[in-house]
Symmetry: D2
Subunit: 351 residues, 4 copies
């Protein structure tokens, strides 16, 4: 296969620059279009000096004709953008990977409720594929439109999936509690008092305790993974903000059934992910740290049973990599028949 | 009453210097002895320049005769020190406030299991009082020996106490999950690779998931508050380390009974703490931040019901103040009949 | 003297809330008016929960008649506000303390050049007093309008002043290089991409190397302190941004004359500040840390001679306290004949 | 050329793990030996989970016979180790790259003064090459022993070198002032109170103002670059500690001669580094940030003339990469005739 030409819509945010960090070093890819509503004509390495010496790319206004020439277009935009351009791109055989929420939820009512707008292309949504690479690999290979998962939902799905791949019910689905913690970069690159240094450094808090957009995504995804409808509606999901730039850890509490209590869950997880390059089941008694995946397309898991019939799953990733741009590249690799790990072999930055 | 003379054993750690920060400005107190095993003869403000201009105190070796002249001695030491000196001090009518664990657990077997040594003075322990000021005030006023509570247990007890002060059972005790997060200063002031800057900055992790010393303290304390034995043995407690200096937030998940679900819990909490200067029940939909209590002897609480019959309690404090030195001073005020808030009126440092 | 009634204009920024932290605990003061352009009617402790339990104050729109009832009004606003209200307040015998730049520069051309507007009340400016408390105490006591110094200029003036109080010339004024470093709170509380957490954490940079507003203030102040005109025009001042909330350190490099090289500068500094509560000349070989003054109205100085005839002055303060709100309160104390340290005795928060 | 076999002595420190991060992904290299005094038999990815999935290497005791089989051995140890093993390795045609100070200073008296021990192999030192890759490339290609430069000296040399490559004297050498700032990882990975999180977070200070080991290295290196002896003895070098993990910025102040003032220094620098992959002269008015080189083998420079005849050079790098492990790999590439950028093309992690 020749070089894959890539367009990125929305190249001034953190997922945009992270896509560039990965794609500019990807052996099979040429980034040919990079758009911005505000920076037309500016060199991207003027805005992000970390890219100096690696690219001459300039931002351009979103020009659909230019994007149509690409093999694939990544939308690193807020929700509501990709769904307005997907049809035209598909008509030109350009694939679409949306890093926002336009193609994550099949439930249109939930989409409208949480994102405050009707969906612009329900038919395309129906054919789109949810891009949790490890759990949906075969569909992704055939997909033309990918809804790249939310960061929190990625930690939860990969953290719980093995529990549902058993003939017996191992857990009580209604007991799931997700206490999630994220670095500040998850909120994006924007002028915001709430995200300012002096408001977040040396501080810790919960947020969106009353309801977070990733809740319905987690519910729908767990229904699909488990094949059980309705039983996840009452999971509890409480996100917190950590004074760090990158990194996400979800501490997931689950009540085990008798079968789950009796099962060798460590072995179950290790087998389930044995062939996965980007999911690491750590040894018993490990404590996964966010810095162990800083900058890497990697999710690490550890299991604990602190009490009888109580399972604690610790699931960490870099929210900008496996939780966003890295997984998007992983999906691109799958869609174009490339080696799945291509461009994603970098080792995390520790310390 | 005249000036209260104070001794501090172990004045080189973070709780020691925090005691000094509070006591050197306390209107009714004179710190007359400050001991250190390693810094005998050194001025304390040479080690802690923040104290320059506020004191001429020098460290001395631990001399029990000097300590006996004090009205009260604070032990800001590791566990295992206070219990070896309590008897002699009590014999001289010197009161004892231990900031470590020697007088927190009445259960001797638990003490020995978690702290790795037999208790040196079980009889004194029996007469000692657990110093959770708000929940144990009358006993504290009469006490000669105080076991100052652990930092995590303080957030849990004040976060849950109102739920037990009702004729009906409001919660299912066995359902309690405590997902706790602490700043790094909780680990103390010491040479330690694990606590080094480069190992903790821009990083997040759980620790001691398999078991933490504060677990048995939480269990025993909840038994005393609720009057129910045995039902808290299976609570889950998972602490995490936040890249910040001070601050602690416990996110506590509880299953409500029908009665609990029907109750006005916000009102219950507000009434329960209506007269408390140092416990703040925040309005509905608040998100308590650790920085809102930075340096202050204050604990703030918010309540959420994200799902039917599920209660989430958010409980924040400064681990070095309400979680340690501040509560110790509060207990001293109670023991000596001073105004409870004396020396503790400082406003938190925000930002 | 009775209680002093205080108004604060601009109570939603960091210097505003810091004024409240200090003034709400000040024994001689009653804050009676607190204004905000955007938060009229909102309780201040709703915006800053650290104040919960300490005040019932609400924000109001700026109402000059209400402010006129105050004994003193602090302007914790951007530049350009105080100068438009000073005349009316003075006419009602209300004193004015401006924490912005309206009354810092006597040179009108410099003011207009650096702040982009003509001065609104040059006659009042002429009678106003520059509020560097230690160096201008007697004038401050008589003043009706105070220009509270900028944060960087405070570290420089107190760091260099003793060198000019000698019959011989000790330094070469044209050699002064100020390499200054500030925490992020110095940029204020505002929605700003540049000040966001993810742009500043784990990062360090210089800024405004081509020119900073505090440069002309430093020049004018040094001229006044030394009585020498024109010789400071070519000092070099390079500020840097440190990933911390509060704190400022200026490293000042000066070439010594032969007389300066021969002098006992440590003794000179110690004598010069011997009676000052808020300036601390540390012992030889000290390394002043910003955390040693965190939250305290204190500036600490250390001196080094790393090479013959080269002096290095290290000067640290909390930019929000001695560099802003604390010095403003110190000036208020002087203006109203109160004990200079009143309300400012708090010990810094370490760690 | 076949695969180059590499040994790393001292694989538990930050430069050791950074070498692994780079070398495990290097296309021409096989790491075959990794030693540790304390971790013999332990898997390296057990200590550094960021390496999980990338290597099966285990630590071994230092066995000189195993190291002799390597083509090159990196010493990521404290000073005093490499010089005791260099002779034996050289005898087996194994090249040596020391990341510590054993082969940085040709002046034996200076070495002994600053490092507290006599040099163990002065003859080998004489033939060793100082590994500032860009300034010493031809010698490095022929070298068998490399003294990899200190982190601070790298920023200074690359920051000043173009100024000496002119027929006219552009600067006054005795005027040089280096105000340097480093992240905490520069102090290494060790149990140390001084380097603990709670002592460094939200804090800033100068250190070693009275004298730092990198001072003589800077002096000797500038003498070599400029060909001028004696004129750099009186430069001033003041390092500071920034609360960040990685990153180093030196702000260098220089007095210009008339010729220097007249020269186009921006053009001079751009030409000097035009062909260098790892030195980036930024455009006029740039502000190099440490995060722009986080994890990258890159040094960025900006120039300012804030006053007539005063030059300010800003020079940033990642202290663990271009300041240590990255430059060591760059030197290895040169020594073995590999593409100089091989294994070093990674883009910095921003944010």
């Amino acid at each position: 296969m020749g070089v894959i030409t890539v367009g990125i819509v929305g190249g001034t945010g953190y997922t945009g620059v992270e896509l560039l960090r990965l794609l500019l070093r990807h052996p099979n890819v040429q980034v040919s279009v990079l758009t911005s509503r505000t920076e037309n004509g500016r060199r991207v390495d003027d805005m992000f000096p970390s890219l100096r010496g690696h690219t001459d790319l300039q931002y351009s206004d979103l020009n659909i004709d230019e994007l149509k020439k690409c093999d694939v277009v990544f939308f690193a935009t807020p929700h509501g953008v990709a769904m307005n351009h997907a049809a035209e791109l598909l008509a030109s055989n350009t694939k679409v990977i949306d890093l926002a929420a336009d193609f994550r939820l099949q439930n249109l009512a939930q989409f409208e409720k949480w994102y405050g707008m009707p969906h612009a292309c329900p038919e395309i949504l129906k054919d789109s594929v949810y891009g949790l690479s490890e759990l949906n690999r075969e569909n992704i290979k055939q997909a033309n439109v990918i809804g790249n998962p939310g960061c929190y939902p990625t930690t939860v799905q990969l953290g719980l999936a093995p529990l549902f791949k058993n003939s017996d019910a191992l857990i009580k689905p209604e007991s799931i509690i997700i206490d999630a913690k994220s670095g500040v970069s998850g909120a994006g690159r924007k002028a915001s008092l709430e995200m300012s240094y002096s408001e977040n450094a040396d501080n810790f808090k919960a947020y969106s305790v009353g309801g977070h957009r990733h809740h319905p995504e987690i519910v729908e995804a767990l229904e699909n993974i488990s094949g059980q409808k309705g039983v996840f509606d009452y999971i509890v999901f409480v996100p917190h903000l950590v004074p760090m730039i990158r990194g996400m850890l979800s501490t997931i509490y689950v009540d085990l059934t008798d079968a789950g209590d009796a099962a060798d869950l460590q072995a179950l997880y290790e087998q389930f992910y044995a062939d996965e390059a980007f999911v690491d089941v750590m040894p018993v008694n490990s404590s996964p740290e966010t810095r162990s995946v800083r900058g890497a397309n990697q999710l690490r898991i550890a299991l604990y049973k602190p009490q009888p019939k109580k399972l604690v799953v610790l699931s960490v990733q870099d929210n900008l990599v496996k939780g966003a741009a890295g997984q998007a590249v992983q999906n691109m690799n799958l869609m174009f028949g490339l080696t799945e790990t291509s461009g994603l072999e970098g080792i995390g930055l520790l310390p």
